[in-house]
């Protein structure tokens, strides 16, 4: 009886997961279809309700090299530069954010110091000002530092933690059983040791999430690079993609735009697949047995 119920609930779970997955995959499939259409058919397909017109009966694989070679004003170089810039900025930001945020999150969760509560609220409050207002003051600041048109404004702030992830680390680190921390302290670990040997390994899912989110956020960030970088060769992929847009925000070559967008997304997908393993296995093993 119990087995039957399990099979049944498994089937429902499968069914729900599958339906959801198909729904969630639709946008991706749509982009894939449009990216393989010829220019005139792509334009028509994005405004017509006829789903059949979307099917790439005559797939234009050439769209992919065309799209990449047309990013920026210099053939191929624009794409390669943008790729390198995005990789450098993103790598630095991911490492810096995870390290600094977990450290600060640990302090907020586990260490007693006066002023912790008010500081925490101030930290939360910093997330509540929309970026659109702090943008110009920040620009003035970076200009004063001579950082405009370098990668520094996009990378350096990551070393000082990110309120969102500090909060996330704090919520998870606060969940670690007190006994584990005490045991580590008895073993002679200092705070740094407890953070590095106990908190960080137990927070592997959080770190995985932090890495994935930071990666995707930085990789896709448009406003930052738009404002701080002037030169063509400094552009990131998100900015280079904007060259497919035109004056009124429309898109000229929607098929090429989709092709370029999909290529740009590939690292995000790969990272997610890689991180999800970490993120699922991490806690199951160590923590909760304690």
């Amino acid at each position: 009886m119990n087995a039957e119920r399990t099979v049944l609930s498994r089937l429902t779970a499968h069914g729900l997961l599958l339906v959801g997955a198909l729904l969630m995959l639709l946008p991706f499939l749509w982009m894939l279809c449009v990216s393989l259409l010829s220019a005139d058919r792509a334009q028509a397909a994005t405004v017509s309700g006829d789903l059949l017109r979307l099917l790439p009966t005559d797939p234009q694989w050439q769209n992919y090299p065309d799209a990449l070679s047309q990013m920026g004003s210099r053939r191929w170089q624009g794409f390669l530069d943008a790729l390198a810039n995005s990789v450098v900025i993103t790598t630095l930001c991911v490492i810096a954010t995870a390290l600094s945020s977990s450290l600060v999150g640990f302090a907020f969760a586990r260490m007693r110091f006066r002023g912790r509560g008010p500081l925490f609220v101030v930290m939360l409050a910093t997330m509540m000002l929309p970026a659109q207002v702090t943008m110009i003051p920040l620009f003035l600041l970076f200009r004063h530092l001579g950082w405009i048109d370098t990668l520094l404004p996009l990378v350096v702030p990551a070393f000082f933690g990110n309120a969102f992830f500090i909060f996330m680390y704090r919520q998870f680190i606060a969940q670690i059983p007190e006994s584990l921390i005490e045991a580590a302290a008895i073993d002679g670990h200092g705070w740094l040791g407890i953070w590095w040997r106990i908190a960080l390994p137990l927070c592997r899912p959080v770190t995985a999430i932090c890495a994935v989110f930071t990666f995707i956020y930085v990789w896709n960030d448009f406003l930052g690079p738009l404002v701080y970088l002037h030169s063509d060769e400094q552009a990131t992929l998100a900015v280079a993609l904007n060259s497919f847009r035109n004056q009124y925000g429309g898109v000229n070559k929607v098929n090429l735009l989709m092709a370029a967008s999909l290529v740009t997304m590939v690292p995000c997908i790969l990272l997610f697949l890689a991180a999800q393993k970490q993120f699922i296995e991490g806690l199951g093993k160590g923590a909760v047995k304690g």
């Binding site: 006829d50 450290l103 929309p130 943008m135 429309g250 000229n252």
Partner: protein
């Protein structure tokens, strides 16, 4: 199939294969990272070492409708300029679309480092000139004439209407100083699907057609199966173009004299409204129109589309399924047409005005224009080029290239730019009210006109506009801040030094502060300054395009105006609250349910998880195009799915961003946000992994039911994570911006103008940086209050292992 043994045995073997894949993946990633660092590193090094000789001109422009191809042509022209002018280097910046361009321009202007040469659209000339951003060009023209410079620019070669568009005397466009040299322009009219005309058995319209001809044609075309007669866009510029063909306008000789109450104007507008609302088959009722609306013509399902300028031509040249052509705007009581144009301007603060002027001359020369017009997307402003085969290319569609020039040749036809006053609020208010009246059913024309008159006078008569204010006391502000900071510092030192604590508590405190120091330092370096600055600016009137010393002190003026007299502010607050109320609960419940599903141990779960997460990766322009298509009321996927379902109860699916936007606009964005729950879902999933299995198992042994187990064990254990996600969702949802910015721009009317979108409008379109800062602080207070309430009350229902007081 579901036998455990089988699946376990299956797991071990692929592990080795997977690990090989992981190694390969890691190696590739590492190689990519190393290559990137080397490429970027060597480039940055060479930039550092590069000698700074000669003059560098910075040129800022956008891609126009030509996209990457137009970009390439500009690049070629600039390189040719460099070759012809040794010692001058040109640095070109092209942010892509015009909105990104203006954002970038503004940050550069605010920092006192403007580009030397930049594009300016005719609609911004008055406000840019009033703010003193552009150099006057008449002097340079005269100097060239005196010097008899062989490459001098002859204004007579350019169409007078295009030159006049960039003259401004402090009150009116069309006379006074010259601020830009038009690079190209367009007249407007309707694009016609000739194949559909043949099918309907009607002749193509004559070049001097009337509005009666127009609507009769649209009605006939609308009788064809599955065809709408015409698409008619209601941008403020086009509404005014339409009114001018009746010899009318929204205002009199100057902008102080609003004429919307004139019965003739109301009657003319009402005719347009009636076409859109009462004759579904003849005119699109704002259904298909999202953003440009030009794309709808390419599907071949509308007989005519407009009023558009030349800019759609490159896109329409890709049409293969039918023949098409162009006709100028129909005539009403009078013959009239309008021009839209963009010019090269020189920054008033430029340090290299002479070189910049040479560059502007170069870019608007006959040779450059000849090359630029090969894309067909605009009419060269130089008439010798426009009237030559370079533009009137007989081999490229449309056949009637000449129809674009005809209004200019007709002495009876009144062709002028659609001018706007120096205060950009006028265009936004007018556009917002007319757009809502013409596109939705919930605002009558009379009410729209009354709204406009009231809000425009509220703005114009506000102390912020009328009053004169002293310069912002930056010196005092800085001194006061420094004193307060010093006092806080002293208080902190005393506070920490005073309480004598035991050795270990003291060490813990020091270590805690040390651990938190990255954030503390970052806060002081990169946040305290912008935050204090925005607080200061919220008390100031500052356009954000001049340096800070131009700011004026208005006290609580911004706050008073916002809270007491700004209806758009109230509307945006309501629209945002509505969105938050829909999106946050729906998103959290959906994400938690999804995470529970993902936490089950079924086969292929990794693939499911990835699939559910995928939409969260999507971003940028491509997604906006996608969602426009999904929510299209007729062709869209959403309504295709809803139609049969709602049909059962006799309802029609909503026109999300058209007629029904007041009710369905914000929830549509909520639905979009549901596809982005991947992140929240992952955090819940991580939280679920944290729930001790032994507790659940113990409960299971005690025969506690599954649902009860969830509520008694899982939910309390998950409560810190729930609190985190809810708070983040609240903060994020109150700041909803990007999707609306790229998809609807807040339209129709202000029905999807979310709070931060309105803030952005104020900061970057209406040049009210101080006002926008005040808005930001009001938003901060709102969110902070909600957060504190949540945090306070959370003590009762959130369970923490640590953090016990």
């Amino acid at each position: 199939m579901f036998m455990r043994g089988g699946s376990d045995a299956g797991v071990t073997r692929p592990t080795r294969r997977v690990s090989a894949a992981v190694v390969a993946f890691a190696a590739c990633a590492l190689a990519l990272i190393v290559w990137s660092f080397m490429r970027v590193g060597s480039r940055e090094l060479s930039r550092l070492l590069r000698a700074n000789d000669g003059t560098e001109l910075v040129v800022l422009h956008w891609s126009g409708e030509g996209g990457p191809e137009e970009d390439e042509i500009v690049e070629r022209s600039l390189r040719a300029f460099e070759a012809a002018h040794p010692g001058v280097r040109v640095r070109r910046i092209n942010p892509g679309d015009a909105a990104s361009f203006y954002t970038k321009l503004q940050t550069m202007l605010a920092s006192g480092d403007p580009p030397d040469v930049f594009y300016v659209g005719a609609e911004r000339v008055a406000s840019f000139a009033a703010m003193g951003l552009m150099a006057k060009l008449d002097g340079m023209l005269a100097a060239d004439e005196v010097a008899n410079d062989p490459s001098r620019l002859h204004l007579d070669d350019l169409y007078p209407a295009t030159v006049e568009a960039f003259r401004y005397d402090g009150k009116d466009i069309g006379r006074g100083d010259l601020y830009g040299i038009p690079k190209d322009f367009t007249t407007v009219g309707f694009y016609i699907n000739a194949t559909l005309f043949a099918k309907a058995g009607i002749p193509l319209p004559k070049p001097d057609w009337t509005w009666d001809d127009f609507i009769a044609t649209a009605r006939t075309l609308g009788t064809l199966e599955g065809i709408t007669g015409t698409e008619f866009v209601t941008w403020p510029m086009m509404v005014r173009a339409y009114l001018r063909t009746d010899g009318l306008d929204t205002h009199g000789a100057n902008f102080d004299e609003v004429r919307l109450r004139d019965p003739k104007v109301l009657a003319s507008l009402d005719r347009l409204r009636a076409w859109r609302h009462d004759e579904e088959r003849a005119l699109t009722s704002g259904k298909s129109k999202l953003a440009t609306g030009a794309a709808v013509f390419t599907t071949g399902t509308v007989g005519m589309a407009g009023p558009f300028g030349r800019w759609v031509v490159p896109e329409y040249r890709k049409i293969r399924d039918f023949e098409w052509d162009f006709r100028p705007l129909p005539r009403g009581a009078v013959k009239s047409n309008v021009i839209a144009t963009v010019a090269w301007a020189i920054a008033d603060q430029s340090k290299h005005k002479d070189e910049a002027w040479k560059l502007v001359r170069w870019m608007t020369s006959e040779e450059s224009q000849r090359e630029q017009c090969s894309l067909g997307l605009a009419i060269p402003s130089n008439r010798h080029v426009a009237e030559s085969p370079a533009f009137l290319d007989p081999n490229a569609a449309p056949i009637s290239d000449d129809a674009f020039l005809a209004p200019l040749r007709d002495p009876e036809c009144d062709v002028r730019v659609v001018d706007w006053p120096a205060d950009p609020v006028y265009e936004q208010l007018l556009g917002s009210r007319l757009d809502q009246a013409l596109r939705t059913a919930d605002l009558s024309l009379d009410a729209a006109v009354a709204d406009f008159e009231r809000t425009w006078s509220q703005h114009r008569l506000s102390p912020l506009v009328q009053g004169t204010f002293d310069p912002f006391p930056w010196r005092q502000a800085v001194t006061a801040t420094a004193i307060v900071a010093a006092m806080i510092l002293i208080a902190l030192v005393i506070f920490y030094a005073r309480g004598i604590r035991s050795g270990s508590a003291r060490r813990e405190e020091l270590a805690g502060l040390l651990f938190a120091s990255p954030w503390l330092l970052g806060f002081l370096l990169f946040m305290a300054f912008p935050i204090l600055m925005s607080l200061a600016l919220s008390l100031a009137s500052w356009q954000g395009v001049s340096t800070l010393d131009q700011a004026r002190f208005v006290g609580a003026g911004n706050y008073a105006q916002l809270l007491l007299h700004d209806e758009r502010f109230r509307r945006s607050l309501w629209v945002t609250t509505y969105y938050v109320l829909v999106a946050v609960p729906a998103g959290q419940i959906f994400a938690l349910l999804a995470a529970l599903l993902m936490n089950t141990k079924v086969r292929g779960i990794a693939i499911y998880r990835a699939a559910w997460y995928l939409p969260s990766i999507l971003s940028g322009v491509g997604v906006a195009v996608l969602w426009r298509w999904v929510f299209d009321p007729e062709a869209g996927l959403m309504n295709a799915a809803l139609r049969p379902l709602l049909g059962l109860v006799g309802l029609a699916p909503p026109e999300w961003f058209g007629r029904d936007a007041a009710v369905w606009g914000p929830p549509a964005f909520g639905i979009m946000s549901l596809s982005m729950i991947g992140g929240t879902m992952m955090i819940y999933l991580a939280g679920l992994q944290n729930v001790p299995q032994d507790l659940l198992e113990a409960a299971s042994i005690d025969r506690v039911g599954r649902v009860r187990r969830f509520f008694v064990i899982t939910l309390p254990m998950l409560s810190p994570v729930i609190l985190f996600n809810v708070l983040m969702a609240l903060i994020g949802s109150f700041q909803v911006f990007t999707q609306a910015f790229v998809m609807t721009g807040g339209e129709p009317g202000d029905l999807t103008r979310f709070y931060v979108l309105y803030l952005y409008n104020q900061a970057f379109e209406l040049y009210a940086m101080g006002y926008a800062s005040a808005m930001a602080w009001i938003l901060l207070v709102i969110i902070l209050v909600i957060t504190l309430i949540l945090l306070r009350s959370s003590a009762r229902f959130v369970y923490y292992e640590a953090l016990k007081k």
